[in-house]
Symmetry: C2
Subunit: 291 residues, 2 copies
Amino acid sequence: MGHKRTVKITTMKRLKAFLPRRKSRGGSVGLVPTMGALHAGHASLIRRSARENDITVVSIFVNPTQFGPREDVRRYPRTLARDIRIAREAGADVVFAPSVREVYPDGFSTYVTVGRLTAGLCGASRPTHFRGVATVCAKLFGMVAPHRAYFGEKDYQQLVVVRRMVADLNMNLEVVSCPTVREPDGLAMSSRNAYLDADARKQALVLRRSLLAAKALVERSGVRNVARVAAAMRRIIRTAPLARIDYVAVVHPETLEPLKTVAADAVAAVAVNIADTRLIDNIRIRAKGKR
Amino acid sequence: MGHKRTVKITTMKRLKAFLPRRKSRGGSVGLVPTMGALHAGHASLIRRSARENDITVVSIFVNPTQFGPREDVRRYPRTLARDIRIAREAGADVVFAPSVREVYPDGFSTYVTVGRLTAGLCGASRPTHFRGVATVCAKLFGMVAPHRAYFGEKDYQQLVVVRRMVADLNMNLEVVSCPTVREPDGLAMSSRNAYLDADARKQALVLRRSLLAAKALVERSGVRNVARVAAAMRRIIRTAPLARIDYVAVVHPETLEPLKTVAADAVAAVAVNIADTRLIDNIRIRAKGKR
């Protein structure tokens, strides 16, 4: 349908054989790392990469090392044929979908840990999650050697952690962040939304509503006290009977340190279990001068 | 005197500006990571890199993260002018000597850990040492983006750990190992040899003697029992009154697991404090058929 051909590659050997041929023509490579179950959020990352690079690689790999022992690695949705179609329509040249054995062969024993940034927020309830994320990103960056890698702002802590790793380990690539894509009613796109039944789907809107309320309290009503902002957010979330709060936080946008007062830019972030499904979302808040 | 010019670079910015210019002519880059205090062992690595690559970068950086809290990072010898001369004479194009601040700026918080391989041998008495080694090597590999990196076999565990990291994180370079260079009497070259006074220098020969005895016991006398081999090694080391044994080990050459029986290739390794100076050495043992 006017779309270019998308090559599916499952081994590093084929990837290595394919990419240098393309790169030697002087082209730049963009990487969009995903766990599959692609949605419009991923498609926006792929389109941006396709605009900014000569070759776009979309990796599809449900990375076991970023799931905790009681988490949903097996349950995680796998929809490869559909993913390839979405990736192609968004402009991907390569879908790289390796097996777990290809990524973590016998004897594998190296991990990348990013301190400080990973203690709070999602790191508090998922203690090995960001070690898994950082490690698999380091590996994908090694395999693909991209000039740019694209991450969504929905996973804000992940974005900050990957940026930190790239700077700290002097990796030769640019981390590009892209705005969260939302359903028409405001729910952030997430592969995990597929788990929500009709009732849970409706109640999931409390995440976005609590974040918009936080932004309005700070930016319009001039509230600076984070305890007050967080209390208002919790009240909104608790209107949903299926909601169980993991965290409600207002943090520094780079250090992710919890703030007591919003004096400048901040990020409000929430993680909420709606029935069995853990959802996250965040919003940027800009406090303009003190009241 | 007939040697090419060697450029000294202290910042990543200048390194980045210098290297792509050279690389774009299609040349390969070799990296020899060192902590300075260069000796004939380093020179042999540099010469090999200069033979095998178009550009050779020697990094000189006394890496604080690989020293323990009670170890000798301040005392470690620093001899930059002399190092540059040795590097130039051995064929280096660039001496990269960054400051601690350049390598570890404020906010740095990412570490690379290699499990399993780092629990025993030197890792047992230096619990954060290999984390520091792996991290600084990952950083140097990022900064220089070498095609090949050169490591001496004297630091055998380091060599195995770096190889593992490069494989596990899919880094695009070849780790080249080079034989240990020795003084005429057999003492392995080491920057720490400079700490030895005349008496300690003589007694330091027990390391090499214990390793040669282990090799002879296995390869010539057909001894296969590691306890017997280790006991013989300890007896030899104890003839030196200044010697305090850290470890005496016979391990698998790749997994570094301690062996009970030498059935195939093995590595005998020792770490011994001679007065205040910790020295290490190792030897490859090849058991040819069982007795």
